[in-house]
């Protein structure tokens, strides 16, 4: 244990995802030795992010405005929606340059063991976007794991009765992993090889 504010910082850092107690200590000592201007900039950036970053009211992606850049971009194809679990999946798919439509971020996957059901995700908002008939294609890009598969199964059953092409990212994505770790080539290929979810 260290004294006062230093220990306070270590405790705060250790609560962040992916940072263990050792890493928290390392970061805290790095900041202790760093130039005060650098530390101030870091603190200000964090506060500014928290104050300005919000979620797109249309797609649920992180955004600086009511509508994110992708939803506001008239060059994006309004007839195609790619459904993902998390904002970081949007970034991963954007990197492939395979997709010119828009996104819908669910905010996770259906996980009964974690108490997360369809009502806890942005599924009602998705149905709202599909109501006017402009969208003709829905691509399900869930993580290639059990929860992702189950979420895709739920959505494809929900969308079955609508006049839509519903496809799921497929070939080449190794199962068990997270979408964000797929390299661009593999993810791009999975996009090109997406399969219809119809039975």
């Amino acid at each position: 244990m260290y004294e006062g504010v230093l220990q306070d910082l270590i405790d705060e850092l250790a609560r962040l995802p992916g940072v263990g107690p050792k890493g928290a200590q390392r970061i805290a000592f790095h900041l202790l030795a760093a130039d005060p201007a650098d530390v101030r900039r870091l603190a200000e950036t964090m506060q500014e992010m928290k104050a300005k970053a919000t979620f797109c009211q249309t797609c649920g992606n992180v955004s600086q405005a009511e509508r994110c850049r992708i939803c506001a971009d008239p060059r994006r194809d309004p007839t195609s929606i790619c459904v993902v679990e998390e904002p970081k999946d949007v970034v991963a798919i954007e990197r492939t340059r395979e997709f010119r439509g828009r996104y819908h971020v669910l905010g996770g996957a259906i996980s009964p063991l974690a108490g997360i059901g369809p009502d806890q995700l942005r599924i009602r908002e998705l149905m709202g976007r599909l109501a006017d008939g402009e969208v003709t294609e829905v691509i399900l890009a869930m993580d290639p794991n059990i929860e992702g598969d189950a979420t895709a199964a739920y959505l494809s059953r929900l969308l079955r009765s609508m006049e839509l092409s519903v496809t799921r990212l497929a070939s080449g994505l190794p199962v068990g992993g997270d979408l964000e770790y797929a390299d661009e080539v593999t993810l791009g290929r999975a996009f090109a090889g997406r399969r219809s979810t119809g039975d």
């Binding site: 108490g115 059901g117 929860e147 598969d149 199964a153 739920y154 994505l173």
Partner: protein
């Protein structure tokens, strides 16, 4: 590091650090074990889907100071894919995993019977010959029995008088005769109690032939019974997909 081998069903996974996961397992010989799987979230991981929930695996684990580490995993049966492909199965099988973890609460306390019950129920679920909800209810009644909370579906749970009876109380242990009936008891149809008995004893022909009305009533009694005996409510129970009549 010393290692040991066991077979297991993967119950639950948690993200850990950059690309690792903590895997909660129900093993055959070591009860519930929590172990680290390194790098498992990378799409290049050697574990692939072998450490996903519902998978029946052969494992090698290295004993660690806090948590053991998974060093090898071989699939015995990949139940996950067939479960995740069907939402009703997925929600029902999730309740099975959560119940198994709750009933085998002591870590490293072997419970071979609970283990075999879970493996059997997953196999039955995936075979698709019976309704997912019935497979779940049969599993719940039997795992409660193995844990020492066997419900009485025929004889009076209090005095032993032969049934059929028209009252059922989770707190009293099941069916009750008119004299032992306690306030707040449910009053199910006689056929519902027969259906419960068939679920508990594994008379599947009878189970499959039950009327939906009695099946639904039995489902309510089973979940009330489980909730009564587990101190905290199951998270997955309220998310059970409602069955469409006649759908398998």
């Amino acid at each position: 590091m010393p290692v040991y081998s066991d077979e297991a069903v993967v119950l639950r996974t948690h993200k850990l650090a950059e690309a690792d996961r903590i895997i909660t397992l129900l093993t055959r010989e070591h009860g519930v074990v929590r172990a680290v799987a390194r790098g498992v979230r990378r799409t290049s991981s050697k574990f692939g889907s072998r450490l996903e929930p519902f998978t029946h695996v052969d494992l090698q684990l290295a004993i660690g100071r806090n948590l053991d580490t998974v060093t090898q995993a071989e699939t015995r049966a990949p139940y996950g894919a067939a479960i995740a492909a069907d939402y009703e199965r997925y929600t029902a099988a999730s309740v099975m995993l959560e119940t198994a973890e709750r009933l085998v609460s002591e870590e490293r306390e072997p419970s071979v019977q609970q283990y075999l019950l879970l493996v059997g129920a997953l196999r039955t679920m995936v075979a698709g010959e019976h309704r997912p909800g019935d497979v779940l209810d049969a599993f719940l009644l039997r795992s409660m029995s193995v844990a020492g909370y066997a419900p009485s579906c025929w004889a009076c749970a209090s005095c032993g008088l032969e049934g059929p009876h028209r009252a059922f109380s989770p707190g009293a242990g099941g069916a009750l005769c008119p004299r032992c009936r306690v306030p707040g008891s449910a009053s199910p149809a006689a056929e519902t109690l027969v259906h419960l008995g068939a679920l508990l004893s594994g008379h599947w022909e009878q189970v499959d032939a039950a009327h939906d009305r009695h099946r639904r009533e039995a489902r309510g009694l089973v979940s009330a019974y489980v909730s009564w005996h587990l101190e905290r409510a199951l998270r997955s129970m309220p998310l059970l997909a409602r069955e469409v009549s006649g759908e398998r």
